[in-house]
């Protein structure tokens, strides 16, 4: 329980490394969690081989949603779009290092959902993108 606000999460929430805008960028996508108003926007820059050379996120919301976005961005720089397509919810939970109930899981997975919707070039982010 107390793990939920481990230092790493509070730290990435208060002092995120990858918050901001990336101009120019090759891929951008944004979505919100309608239940709590968490909002995440992700921008990616790619090289000729589809490798992510830089990335940023922006948005607002609870500590879990914002810290997981910062950790997720950190984990994908240098990866290819194909690598990103393979990421699942466990990847985010491993980054956070905590167990989450169903309500907070939605907060944690918002950034991955946004990232994958952008990478797949979808019109909207769907929960099926972050199933097990």
């Amino acid at each position: 329980m107390d793990d939920l606000y481990r230092e790493i999460i509070i730290e990435h929430y208060k002092n995120p490394t990858y918050r901001g805008k990336l101009e120019p960028h090759d891929i951008a996508f944004a979505d919100s969690n309608p239940l709590c108003g968490d909002h995440i926007e992700i921008q990616l820059r790619l090289d000729g081989e589809g490798r992510i050379t830089d990335a940023r996120f922006d948005g607002h919301g609870c500590a879990i949603s914002q810290a997981s976005a910062d950790l997720l961005i950190e984990s994908i720089i240098g990866k290819t779009l194909e690598d990103v397509k393979k990421l699942n919810r466990q990847h985010v939970l491993d980054l956070l290092g905590i167990e989450l109930g169903p309500v907070r899981l939605k907060c944690a997975l918002l950034s991955l959902k946004v990232l994958k919707a952008g990478v797949y070039g979808l019109g909207q982010a769907d929960d099926s993108l972050v199933e097990e």
Partner: protein, 408 residues
């Protein structure tokens, strides 16, 4: 009559539990749903153990007992809101279904394209969406009474909007977010002068202070059992008899008919016309027991207890740096304290408080337009009821200082 809160608490089994070993429950989420006293739990248990049968038409002993208990509960609830007759109370699932019933049965029968409805900016989604659906379907226009900065209805604007000639004015008696208690009697009188009928959302008022439908002269009143110490799955729509009689049925099925032939039916009398299918019998009996319970404590005593707690809570919460309360001063509101906290999302506030066993709600509380009005995505809400103590408010304040420390 004074309220002995420690005695009241002994009636609520769940209040004795620990959320985790050594962490007692501090339940500050009664606006979402109240806890249940043993008197209600036992009444439902007794029904299932002794008298369970389907109601109406049955001639065996159990069916007669079940029918009598079900109708006795209706009569008790009718007396509780001072309805002229129990026949004017329709059992629904909850407030939401009661409002939908009016929107569906009254709205579709009596509204024409270009007619207007008047709602307010502080409504719960349950008193917005049924009207939006109706408006889309029937070409009906909707106006909204705006709010003042301190979260009260702008009554000058209300008078002006009434001049547009709405057919119906539907508004909440007490806001589930701001706690604002609206001047219902005055607003209903003004609506009637303007030729409108009125629907009052009593989900937050009927559980917390005396509500008298004849004194208010309200045309429809909707409320839920589960917010007033009763079970989930049961609510009430009260209506004036001439309106209920003029309305076509809502759902079709058994019990709502007097006769059915191949290709035609004759609807039953009010209220059965609106009660299709086997209803929530045990839940209705449970709500009857809840009303008995609330009356044994005394609605005025409950209102006074909550008022004192609210005044105390607002005073303590205002001390916390970075905390911003929504809504009016204690005099104008019921037992609700919604707030934002600088630099901390409401979800995080609620999650950290849960560590200390404190149950509050975080989000838009099914009132998104209200939050948009104040330019915030979500709030944290603590709410109080007859079993809430001053010590619990102290624990909330201590918990909030812990939140501040963690995120500070």
């Amino acid at each position: 009559m004074n309220l002995d809160v420690m005695r009241v608490r002994r009636d609520f089994p769940v209040l004795a539990r620990e959320v985790r070993p050594g962490v007692p429950l501090v339940y500050l989420d009664s606006t979402a749903t109240s806890q249940k006293p043993r008197q209600v739990i036992e009444a439902m248990d007794r029904f299932y153990r002794l008298s369970n049968a389907n109601i109406h038409r049955g001639v065996h002993t159990l069916a007669e007992e079940a029918t009598a208990l079900y109708e006795e509960a209706r009569a008790k609830i009718a007396r509780f809101i001072n309805a002229p007759s129990p026949r004017q109370l329709i059992y629904t699932r909850n407030t939401t279904e009661a409002i939908n019933l009016v929107a569906y049965a009254w709205g579709r029968a009596f509204l024409r394209p270009g007619d207007r409805l008047l709602l307010t900016e502080m409504e719960h989604h349950s008193n917005l969406v049924p009207w939006y659906i109706l408006a889309q379907e029937r070409g009906v226009e909707i106006d909204f009474v705006p709010l003042t900065e301190d979260g009260q209805l702008d009554l000058e604007a209300y008078r002006r909007l009434l001049e547009r000639g709405p057919k119906l004015v539907a508004f909440t008696h007490m806001s589930n977010v701001l706690g604002t208690i609206n001047p219902a009697k005055e607003m209903i009188a003004l609506a009637h002068q303007a030729g409108a009928i009125t629907l009052l959302d009593g989900a937050q008022s009927v559980p917390h202070f005396p509500v008298d439908v004849q004194d208010l002269d309200v045309d429809f009143l909707a409320f839920s059992g589960h917010k007033m110490c009763g079970p989930t799955g049961i609510g009430i729509l009260y209506g004036k008899m001439h309106l209920l009689e003029a309305m076509p049925p809502f759902l079709g099925g058994g019990d709502m008919i007097r006769a059915v032939h191949l290709g035609s039916f004759v609807p039953n009398d009010v209220p059965y016309k609106f009660e299709a299918g086997t209803p929530a019998i045990a839940e209705a009996i449970g709500l009857g027991a809840a009303v008995d319970y609330l009356q044994s404590v005394g609605m005025s005593a409950i209102a006074a207890h909550e008022h004192a707690l609210t005044a105390y809570a607002l005073e303590r919460l205002e001390e916390i740096p970075g905390l911003h309360l929504l809504g009016p001063a204690a005099e104008a509101k019921g037992g609700v304290a919604s707030f934002t906290f600088d630099g901390v999302h409401p979800h995080d506030v609620a999650q950290v408080l849960d560590r200390y066993g404190i149950a509050v709600r975080a989000g838009h509380h099914c009132a998104q337009p209200l939050h948009e009005r104040f330019g915030i995505p979500a709030t944290t809400r603590a709410s109080f009821y007859l079993y809430t103590t001053k010590e619990e408010i102290d624990k909330l304040v201590e918990g909030l200082y812990q939140v501040k420390k963690l995120f500070g």
